[in-house]
């Protein structure tokens, strides 16, 4: 029998090469780097987390490479509970693209979707985007913000734990209404 209380769909977006797949693989399997071509045939990854004694199953969807030529299917966004928009703190262009991604989110994702901005690769010493800049952008766009490194594992578990925690709260809030 399936042993969990809630199942949430989490989708990742962001430019190619910002480390979306690495984040997922680090979180679900604890490995880095995941190796080339490893994602062939993998639609989404599953991991169960525990929040206050409740088992929460996260179904984490990756872009399947469709972001490479900016050709994500709209149906990818449908029925997502949370959406993680990732940029690379050491690559300005990946940050500059965020508004374009947000436009797509506005158009196709549910208005109620939980939106999280993630600055990845904080382990690198050639940082171009200071934390305050990412933070300010997230506040302006009504998103949660966290900086991570899939390589040294910092904040990766926290990112998904917080998402799970937040989603349960929303769920409970709706129940009590």
């Amino acid at each position: 029998m399936e042993d969990y209380k809630y199942l949430f769909k989490v989708v990742l977006i962001g430019n190619a090469g910002v480390g979306k797949t690495c984040l997922v693989r680090r979180f679900t399997q604890g490995i880095f780097p995941p190796g080339q071509g490893a994602t062939i045939g993998v639609d989404f990854m599953i991991k169960t987390v525990e929040i206050d004694g409740l088992k929460i199953k996260l179904q984490i969807w990756d872009t399947a490479g469709q972001e490479r030529f900016r050709s994500i299917t709209q149906s990818y966004y449908r029925s997502a509970h949370a959406l993680i928009l990732v940029y690379d703190v050491s690559a300005q262009p990946t940050f500059d693209c965020l508004p374009v991604w947000l436009r797509e989110v506005e158009e196709y994702a549910s208005p109620k979707v939980l939106r999280v901005l993630v600055g990845n690769k904080v382990d690198r010493d050639d940082r171009e985007i200071p934390p305050a800049v990412g933070e300010a952008f997230s506040r302006m766009n009504n998103m949660y913000f966290i900086e991570t490194s899939a390589k040294d594992c910092s904040n990766v578990d926290k990112l998904f734990q917080e998402i799970a925690r937040e989603l349960i709260q929303v769920e409970h809030f709706l129940l009590f209404q």
């Binding site: 490893a38 045939g41 490479r68 158009e107």
Partner: protein, 533 residues
């Protein structure tokens, strides 16, 4: 990251319509390298679904596509891809409500209360409708799935159904011209016996014909040679008249009097077998619109390594000295491929065969009690083509609460406006009429008419490794397209399985080190589990 598309590949697909997307996913699934391009900035080509704003952008863009540029290579020649051909034409958009918010909010509330006895009435303005732009999902080619048809089977057997959600069509109607009203079509055995519209004798006759048709292959002795001309003759031979005849022709067989007997029987079989699998009618509707389905197949292809690239102008197909297609010119890149599949409407060697007349209406009231999706099959009158109406409510994600999206579909004779005028006038009102009539006819808030060309191409005119795939037709279901996609795939890769089941993501075992980690983790999880017990 470079902007170059990988080349060469096994299969190059041009156009992201349904047939192309199915073939792309099937090829990726067996490990072929697939590159899938489209010059449009959206998925689905003539199968796409649009929000209000996107619809405006697209129909605007369609009118002025840029000219192709001449491009020839030594010792090869190239044929230009017909980007200029306007597949969607005669586009006419019309608003039937005022532009400004004339009604004050308080007034609105009053109106709602006034008509509280059953019908919730709300006054909409143009700006209010546009404010909900993204809640609308307008299909260029709305289609239904037979619950036991080819599309449902392939979605289930491949596992691709996980990308979409569906709702049952809640009821089916035909039109009774004697009593000038909609006539519900009883679908299940229980429906037939509970029907108050037909007599006991008629019920028995209907059941007899249905079971005869279902057993057509196994008990052919029940059929006389002379009955099997057209469907009308067959019904004559069995003295089927009145409403039962209407049910059978218009809705169950989705046919005309003159339809070939075998074709009608095939449809009846599909109809009867599909009933009861998911609900009381044989049909499913895709939430968020039919345009989701091509995208589901594209996602599957991408998951298995397919490369996706919208907004790439595909200018010409390059033919080598041996008469085989070697690749295409895509922007400034020469993409080489073993096989090429191009959608009919872009294929310069395809010709226009016929067309579909379409209208999309937004109305303020359901034609019948409808909280999901309703199909209305209108008979062909005075030699005209049958018209099908699909009315979608907010629960199908087609529009905001309180509004309805109505699709009208028929074969093109003149233009969409002319072909559908009579039907629209019969069922809908263009103006907000007095209360009494408003109780009968839904008011049109917005309408869009257009025609879609249907193309055909002859395989013997094309290089052997160049395939052309059909765009949407006027039938109400997807099954022909699934069959055609399978045939194209089988012709390219004769010994391969067509869309075998995708492994469940929870069962995928990843390479080397990962496997150990997974194992270790599952042990850890077990421990946690035990502690909690």
């Amino acid at each position: 990251m470079t902007d170059d598309i990988p080349s060469p590949c096994d299969l190059l697909v041009i156009g992201t319509g349904l047939t192309e997307s199915i073939v792309a996913s099937a090829a990726s699934r067996i490990g072929k390298q697939v590159v899938h391009v489209d010059h449009r900035d959206f998925y689905g080509s003539n199968w796409a679904t649009f929000s209000f704003n996107n619809l405006h952008n697209v129909l605007g863009v369609n009118k002025g596509l840029t000219e192709c540029i001449e491009e020839t290579k030594k010792e090869t020649y190239s044929i230009h891809i017909g980007l200029n051909s306007n597949t969607v034409l005669n586009v006419v958009e019309k608003w039937f409500i005022s532009d400004e918010d004339v009604e004050a909010t308080i007034d609105n509330q009053l109106r709602i209360e006034e008509t509280n006895n059953g019908i919730l009435k709300q006054t909409w303005t143009k700006s209010e409708v546009l404010k909900h732009s993204r809640k609308f999902n307008f299909d260029l080619s709305p289609k239904l799935l037979y619950s036991k048809g080819e599309m449902v089977e392939v979605l289930i057997s491949s596992g691709i159904c996980r990308y979409a959600e569906f709702k049952n069509v809640s009821s089916i109607y035909t039109y009774d011209n004697v009593e000038s009203g909609l006539l519900p079509v009883p679908c299940s055995r229980a429906d037939i016996f509970n029907s108050k519209d037909i007599t006991m004798i008629e019920k028995r006759l209907l059941m007899k014909i249905l079971s005869m048709c279902v057993e057509y292959e196994t008990k052919p002795e029940k059929f006389q040679e002379d009955e099997m001309g057209n469907f009308g003759n067959f019904l004559d031979a069995h003295k089927i008249q009145g409403k039962v005849r209407k049910y059978l022709i218009d809705s169950v067989a989705m046919a005309k009097e003159s339809t070939n007997f075998q074709d009608a029987v095939k449809n009846i079989q599909k109809f009867v077998r599909s009933i009861g699998r998911y609900g009381n009618t044989p049909f499913l509707w895709t939430l968020y619109g039919s345009g989701e389905l091509p995208q589901c197949f594209c996602r599957c292809s991408a998951v298995f390594g397919g490369v996706y690239c919208l907004k790439r102008s595909t200018r010409s197909i390059i033919i080598g000295s041996d008469g085989q297609a070697t690749g295409i010119m895509c922007d400034n890149q020469n993409l080489k491929a073993k096989f090429i599949l191009i959608e009919d409407s872009l294929n310069p060697l395809a010709t226009i065969k016929s067309g579909i007349s379409r209208a999309i209406l937004v109305t303020n009231k359901a034609l019948t009690s409808n909280d999901q999706a309703v199909l209305i099959n209108l008979p062909s009158l005075n030699g005209k083509e049958p018209v099908r109406i699909l009315e979608l409510s907010a629960s199908t994600m087609a529009c905001p609460q309180g509004l309805y999206v109505v699709h009208l579909i028929t074969r093109q004779v003149t233009t969409a406006i002319e072909d559908l005028r009579e039907v629209i006038d019969t069922f809908f009102s263009a103006v907000e009429s007095n209360e009494n009539e408003a109780l009968h006819k839904p008011q049109i808030i917005w309408s869009l008419h257009f025609n879609i060309n249907e193309y055909e191409s002859y395989a013997d005119m094309l290089p052997l490794n160049l395939y052309s795939s059909p765009g949407p037709n006027s039938s109400m279901d997807f099954d022909n397209h699934v069959i055609q996609a399978r045939n194209i795939f089988k012709s390219m890769f004769p010994d391969e399985d067509f869309l075998p089941r995708v492994p469940d993501p929870e069962d995928v075992i990843l390479e080397g080190s990962a496997e150990e980690v997974v194992l270790q983790e599952s042990l850890e999880n077990q421990e946690v589990h035990n502690v909690h017990e």
